[in-house]
C-alpha cells in the first residue's frame, strides 16, 4: 500500500465519520464543526486526486461559504446557539434503505476504470480557459441558476412589505 493509498483510506474514513457525526451529534454548533471538517477533508482528497483547482474551490466555496451559510441558518433559527436537536431515533427502515442503496452502488466495483497510473493533473489555466470556451454554456446556466436563486431568495428572506 503506497503512501497515497494509505492517505486516501485515512481521508475516506475521516470523511464518512465526519459526515455521520455532523448528522448525528445533538449540539447543532458541533454539527457545523463536523461539516467544516468534512468539507476540508474532501478538499484534501481532491488534492490527492491531483485536482488542485477543485480542491481550492472546495475549500473556498464549501468549507468557506457554504459552512458560513449553514451556520447562519442555524443561528437565525435557534434562540440559543447551543440548542440541541431533539433526539430522533435512527429507525431501522432508513438505515436499511441507505444500506441497500450503498450495496447497489457497490455492485459496480468490478467495472471502475483501472487506476494503472496516477490521476491526470490538469493545469488550472487550461481548466479555466475551457470553462469559458467549451463549457461556456454550463457556466452560463450556472449563472442563471444563481440569478434565479439570488433574486428569489432575497425576496423570500426580505422582511415585511414593499
Amino acid at each position: 500500500m503506497s503512501l497515497a493509498e494509505a492517505a486516501f483510506v485515512l481521508l475516506a474514513l475521516v470523511a464518512v465519520v465526519t459526515a455521520l457525526a455532523a448528522l448525528l451529534v445533538r449540539e447543532l454548533v458541533h454539527t457545523i464543526m463536523w461539516v467544516a471538517i468534512f468539507f476540508v477533508d474532501l478538499a484534501l482528497i481532491y488534492f490527492l486526486l491531483n485536482a488542485t483547482f477543485l480542491g481550492v474551490l472546495q475549500l473556498g466555496v464549501y468549507a468557506g461559504a457554504v459552512t458560513v451559510l449553514l451556520l447562519f441558518g442555524i443561528m437565525v433559527t435557534r434562540k440559543r446557539i447551543f440548542s440541541r436537536e431533539a433526539a430522533t431515533g435512527l429507525g431501522a427502515g432508513p438505515v436499511a434503505l441507505a444500506l441497500l442503496a450503498f450495496l447497489f452502488v457497490l455492485t459496480a466495483v468490478g467495472e471502475l476504470p483501472q487506476g494503472e497510473s496516477v490521476p491526470i493533473a490538469y493545469a488550472p489555466a487550461a481548466l479555466s480557459a475551457a470553462l469559458f470556451s467549451t463549457y461556456g454554456p454550463w457556466v452560463l446556466l450556472l449563472g442563471l441558476t444563481m440569478l434565479t436563486s439570488v433574486s428569489g431568495a432575497i425576496y423570500l428572506v426580505r422582511e415585511g412589505r414593499e
Binding site: F104, V105, T107, A108, G110, E111, L112, P113, T134, Y135, P137, W138, L141, L142, L144, T145, L147, T148, S149, S151, G152, A153, Y155, L156, R161, E162
Partner: protein, 527 residues
C-alpha cells in the same frame, strides 16, 4: 458559435424570455411594481417567444420571421464537437408547449388582486422558470440538461413560497425543495456514474460509446439514478408524494404552472435521455453482465418505464377517487396523467412519441386550464372542497362549462383534445404489439377509472343545487357569490384554452401534424 448574430438567432426565444425577466426585475428595482406593467412585460415576453418558436417550427404565416433556418434544425452535433445544445423540431414543439403554459399562467395572473404584493417576483421567477424550460429543450448534454432543469426547479421552489405568508405555501415550498434537492443530487450522481462508465456526458457521444462498449453495471446504475431523479420532476409513483402537497399548498396559479408546465420538463428529459439519441436506437451490446446472455438495455428500460407508467396511472387514479379537495384531486389526476405520457416513452416508437407529446399538449391545456379555473373560482369565495362547488353550474355557467370541458378532456371524452391524444397514444401503444398491448389495456382501464371522479365533480357542479345559506359543509361558502368576475386576463386564458381543447378535439390534425413530424425527426436523429 463564432457568429454572435447567429447565436442570437438560435437563442432568440430564450433571449426574449430572459430579457423579460430582467426587465421585470429592473422595473422592480426602479419601483414600478404595478401588476399591469410587470405582468404585461412577462406575458408579452412569453407570447413573443411563443410566436418565435412557432415561426421556427415553420407555421405558415409566421415562417417569414423564423430565426433559425430549416437546415439548422434536426441536425445532430458532429462527432467530436461538443456544443452541449442543438435545435430539434421536437425540442421546439416542447418549447411551444412550455411557452403556452407560461403564457396562460401569466395571462391569468394578470387578474390577481392588484393590491397583493409580489407581482414582480412572481413574474420574474415565472419568466426564469420558463427560460430554464426552454433551455431544457435545447440540451444535447446531460449536464446542460440537468442544470437547465435546476434553473426551473429553483425558480419554482421559490414561486411556490413567494407569497411569504401563510403556512401552506411555505410548507409546500419546503417539501418541494427537500425532495427536489435530493432528486437533483441523485440525477447528478447518476450523471457522474455515466461519466465514469463512458467518459462523457454528451448524449450523442454516450450513445456512440454505449454502442461499442455495451452496458456495464456502472452505466446501468447511472441510468437508474437518472430515472429516479427525473421521475421526481415527472411525478411518477413512488416519486410523486411531494406533488400533491405542493400543488395543494402552492398558490393555485403556480400549481397550474407546475402541472401544466414544469412537470413536462421531466417528460421531455425522459424523452431526451432514454429515447432520442441514447438507448433504443443503439440496442445490443456485449452481454448481460450477470448471465452473459445477449443483453440489450432498450427492452430493460422499456420494461422499467412500463412498470412505472402503470403504477403511476393506477395509484394516481385510485387516490384521486377519494379526494375531497379540488386541488388535491386535480393533483392526483395530474400524477396519473404523467403515467400516460410515460407510456409513450416506454414504447419508444415514433408513433408513441407523437402520442405522448400530444398527451402533453392535452395536459397543458386541460390540467393547466383547470387549475386556472380553480384559482379563479377560489377568488370568488368558493371553498377548497369539491362539495363547495355545488351548483356552480347554474351560477357561473360559462366558467363551469369551460371547467367541464377541461375535465372531460382529461377523462378522454370524445370531441375534446383529451380523447384525440389518448386515442393517438393508445393506438400507438397497441400498434407496438407484444406486452405493450397490456400497457394500453391498463391505460384504458385507468381512463375508465378516472371517469369516476371527473363525473363526480361534474355531478356536484351541475346536478346539485347550491347549499342553502348557513349549511356550509367544510368550506366557507357565502350564500351569494360576489358579483365580480374572474377578471379579463383569467377569462381570456381560460377561454383560449377551452377553445383550443374543443378545436383540437374536433380537428386534431392541426397540432398532430407538426408533432408527428417532429417526433419522426427526433427519432431519426439517432439513426
Amino acid at each position: 458559435m463564432t457568429d454572435a448574430a447567429g447565436l442570437a438567432a438560435t437563442f432568440a426565444p430564450e433571449i426574449v424570455v430572459l430579457a423579460a425577466a430582467l426587465l421585470v426585475f429592473l422595473l422592480d428595482v426602479l419601483g414600478v411594481r404595478r401588476l399591469e406593467a410587470v405582468g404585461g412585460v412577462a406575458v408579452a415576453g412569453s407570447g413573443l417567444a411563443f410566436l418565435l418558436v412557432l415561426a421556427d417550427l415553420g407555421f405558415a404565416p409566421l415562417a417569414a420571421i423564423r430565426t433559425i433556418g430549416a437546415g439548422a434544425i434536426n441536425v445532430a452535433p458532429a462527432a467530436g464537437a461538443s456544443p452541449l445544445y442543438f435545435v430539434s423540431s421536437f425540442g421546439l414543439v416542447f418549447q411551444a408547449l412550455f411557452l403556452a403554459a407560461a403564457f396562460f399562467v401569466g395571462l391569468a395572473s394578470l387578474s390577481r388582486d392588484p393590491h397583493e404584493p409580489g407581482a414582480p417576483i412572481f413574474y420574474g421567477l415565472l419568466s426564469l422558470a420558463t427560460l430554464g424550460m426552454l433551455l431544457v429543450a435545447l440540451a444535447s448534454d446531460l449536464i446542460f440538461l440537468l442544470l437547465a432543469i435546476e434553473i426551473t426547479s429553483l425558480a419554482t421552489y421559490l414561486l411556490v413560497g413567494y407569497t411569504r405568508r401563510g403556512l401552506r405555501p411555505l410548507e409546500a415550498a419546503m417539501k418541494f425543495y427537500i425532495i427536489g434537492a435530493v432528486s437533483s443530487t441523485l440525477s447528478f450522481f447518476g450523471a457522474s456514474l455515466l461519466f465514469g462508465a463512458y467518459g462523457t456526458t454528451d448524449l450523442f457521444r454516450l450513445a456512440a460509446v454505449a454502442g461499442s462498449v455495451g452496458y456495464p453495471v456502472l452505466a446501468l446504475l447511472g441510468y437508474g439514478f437518472l430515472v429516479a431523479g427525473l421521475a421526481f420532476k415527472t411525478t411518477l409513483v413512488p416519486f410523486h408524494a411531494w406533488a400533491v402537497d405542493v400543488y395543494d399548498g402552492a398558490p393555485t396559479d403556480v400549481s397550474a404552472f407546475l402541472a401544466g408546465g414544469s412537470k413536462k420538463v421531466g417528460v421531455f428529459a425522459f424523452f431526451l435521455v432514454f429515447l432520442g439519441p441514447v438507448l433504443f436506437v443503439h440496442p445490443g451490446g456485449p452481454g448481460n453482465p450477470f448471465s452473459g446472455a445477449p443483453f440489450d438495455l432498450g427492452p430493460i428500460t422499456q420494461l422499467l418505464l412500463g412498470v412505472l407508467a402503470v403504477l403511476t396511472m393506477t395509484v394516481g387514479n385510485v387516490l384521486a377517487l377519494l379526494q375531497k379537495e379540488m386541488k388535491r384531486l386535480l393533483a392526483y389526476s395530474s400524477i396519473s396523467q404523467a403515467g400516460y405520457m410515460l407510456l409513450g416513452i416506454a414504447v419508444g416508437s415514433p408513433a408513441s412519441l407523437a402520442g405522448a407529446t400530444f398527451q402533453v399538449l392535452t395536459h397543458v391545456l386541460s390540467k393547466g386550464g383547470a387549475f386556472l379555473v380553480v384559482a379563479g373560482v377560489a377568488g370568488l369565495g368558493v371553498g377548497p372542497l369539491v362539495d363547495d362547488w355545488r351548483g356552480l353550474g347554474s351560477r357561473r355557467p360559462l366558467t363551469s362549462v369551460a371547467f367541464a370541458l377541461m375535465l372531460l378532456s382529461l377523462a378522454g371524452v370524445p370531441l375534446t383534445i383529451g380523447f384525440a391524444s389518448k386515442f393517438v397514444l393508445f393506438s400507438a401503444v397497441v400498434d407496438a404489439r407484444g406486452y405493450f398491448v397490456w400497457l394500453a389495456v391498463a391505460g384504458l382501464l385507468n381512463s375508465a377509472l378516472s371517469v369516476f371522479y371527473y363525473a363526480r365533480i361534474l355531478k356536484v357542479v351541475f346536478l346539485q343545487d347550491p347549499a342553502p345559506a348557513g349549511a356550509v359543509v367544510g368550506g366557507s361558502e357565502p350564500a351569494e357569490l360576489p358579483a365580480g368576475g374572474l377578471g379579463y386576463g383569467r377569462a381570456a386564458a381560460i377561454a383560449i384554452a377551452t377553445v383550443a381543447i374543443v378545436a383540437l378535439g374536433v380537428y386534431p390534425q392541426f397540432a398532430l401534424g407538426p408533432i408527428q413530424a417532429a417526433a419522426s425527426h427526433f427519432y431519426a436523429l439517432g439513426a
